[in-house]
Symmetry: C2
Subunit: 375 residues, 2 copies
């Protein structure tokens, strides 16, 4: 018998939290970085290697998967875990964010969003009920309420309207959720950069009693200080005993700063997308492997890394692969980036347990700033 | 101390041979399929996975590597084995074939070939001496003489001219070869589809006493029966105690037919290139994963394969990845294809040892023809 979905807090250091989420497919050590696996694959990676970086959760995108290969199709093939070869925890988004950023001719109504596929122009409708149905067919462990996310900066009226619509969709999503043991649906706090709207959104959602809460509508163009202020304004209204997920964030520094304010979970395309474009995130900051200064450098990205991609290949080789447009460049840099993100989270977890999180953040920042130019 | 380069014949079945090549970087079980690693990477693959398919040799292309990152650069970084992370046997071609197929504004003289890089238009010169110097800088175990390869069909005069030039270049290549223990330079028999020219080329090269002989200038557009006739005409003139390498070949059937005529080594871009275009080579023949008939198929490419790519992913998932343009499609299909090529060679070696090679070929062909449509 599968145990119920749960979240256990082990330690706190200031507002930073060290916990464990249990789902139908395993444990998730928090703070956690979740690798983005858009269309049933973490781009350029084998799931085996994703797992070995210490990744506990892979995220699937409802929008992409509903269009191709289709949720019913994935269900017929045994669900997303089996389809994609990831037997650990999976989280799916609701499709709300991507339908607004990718789909064509979209129309938002009280009922939901009608849109055309960016792939073939076919017509579709996403509603809270259909989003939850799709996420159920995919079989994800952590499912997200259907919401509307607006870009920033934006008018207060528009932010207010979308926040209230998202609250009504939260209620409908919760009612439509059919998950079993070890599965959960999370609410999404909206409200843009407006403190009072964020707090109202949080309080209303908490009243609905969700097993987890996400902060949506950030990392959509606003400066980091705006994002951190929103977290400081909003997180105190969320219950301590539920996980908090900051959606779509972020840089290594964004993550450390957000953990300091009480965030438990992250997802971001940055390490994977950057890896496909010749950029490495390392202990020494961001390294652009396209740059000619790496052509002669026999050093690996990080000799102390446990990740083969970061440890076993020279920068000169990575530079050559990037310049030559070789697929292996994308694989190795994506791998190394995810491994770095995971090592950063692992370090954060250990630091919180040891009560030295502030020092950990200061050390990480100093190392990024010092950089790592060849001797 | 490194042992000298050697070739040992263990068994014969008709003209088919089962042997072992020893180089400075390990043993090569023959008949062998060598994976093409053009620019220091087997495209879309990690070397670890290439090795696990049973690959003993990776081939590097002198033309590509001399242009980017440059042979001196690779030497400075410790040689191609270290640069590319392949500690086993490496073979390099001479650049002769690719300079004719890829470079711009090439001019062949007695001295060598002047050409412009297809990457940046820079001017270069390849001669037998420079080709051997580059291959020495790369540090490959098996190096190839510089030759001129003409396309087929072609005039007898042109074939004759290129064959005689290649003979003179063979002599200069051998004189310029500076390999140490465990390294060797192979000659390349030319002569197009002209029996007497092939035999003359072979006899002249054998008189120069090379440690191995390649058949070049095939798989350049001629039908399979022409290729097999050339092998039948030429191989009897080559010494039994030296390995024979058929360059750029071929399909699974090409390889089995060529082994039957006494070929020991192959290289071909087919499994890797096909893998990047949605095509799988399997025991059941060639499977086009783009085809819609695979969309619902939960079966792996080959449940009995030892290769994770062939065994652990459904055809429906592979179809989805191919349709979505995902990099993982290229990785998994390339991996599965190399694994199939290696399993075919492994089976050939066992069959030759057991004296049942003709049956093995008949069985393989029957399996390809029977195919594998979903029940």
């Amino acid at each position: 018998m599968t145990e119920p979905f749960s979240f256990t807090l082990h330690a706190r250091d200031g507002a930073a939290r060290r916990g464990t989420i249990r789902t139908a497919h395993g444990e998730v050590a928090t703070p956690a970085f979740m690798a983005v696996g858009t269309a049933g694959t973490v781009k350029a990676m084998q799931m085996r290697d994703v797992r070995e970086t210490g990744t506990d959760v892979v995220l699937g995108n409802t929008y992409h998967l509903m269009l191709r290969p289709g949720a019913e199709q994935v269900a017929k093939l045994g669900g997303l875990h089996k389809f994609a070869g990831w037997p650990h925890t999976m989280l799916t988004d609701s499709g709300g964010f991507q339908v607004m950023s990718l789909a064509k001719l979209r129309k938002v109504t009280e009922q939901g969003v009608a849109f055309q596929s960016h792939i073939d122009g076919s017509r579709h409708m996403l509603t809270p009920e259909r989003s939850m149905e799709i996420q159920g067919l995919l079989g994800s462990d952590i499912q997200m309420q259907f919401d509307e996310c607006v870009s920033l900066p934006n008018s207060r009226d528009e932010i207010d309207r979308a926040m209230r619509l998202s609250l009504r969709w939260a209620e409908r999503s919760k009612a439509a959720f059919r998950g079993g043991d070890g599965q959960a649906v999370f609410a999404i706090v909206q409200g843009g950069d407006q403190t009072d709207l964020r707090r109202e959104s949080a309080r209303e959602l908490v009243a609905m009693n969700f097993p987890g809460y996400a902060i949506g509508g950030l990392a959509v163009g606003e400066p980091q200080d705006v994002m951190l202020r929103v977290l400081e304004d909003t997180l105190p209204d969320l219950p301590q005993d539920r996980p908090r997920y900051l959606m779509g964030v972020g840089t290594p520094d964004d993550m450390l700063q957000s953990v300091a304010r009480g965030i438990d979970m992250f997802d971001c395309v940055m390490p994977t997308r950057a890896g496909r474009h010749g950029l490495a995130y390392t202990r020494y900051g961001r390294i652009n492997l396209k740059n000619a200064r790496h052509a002669d450098d026999p050093r690996p990205l990080d000799p102390e890394s446990t990740c083969p991609a970061a440890r076993d290949y020279s920068r000169a080789y990575l530079h050559h692969l990037v310049r030559s447009g070789e697929i292996l460049a994308m694989t190795l840099l994506t791998w190394s980036n995810i491994a770095y993100y995971q090592s950063l989270m692992r370090g954060a977890r250990e630091a919180i347990e040891a009560g030295r999180y502030a020092d950990y953040v200061a050390d990480a920042r100093a190392c990024w700033e010092r950089g790592d130019v060849a001797p």
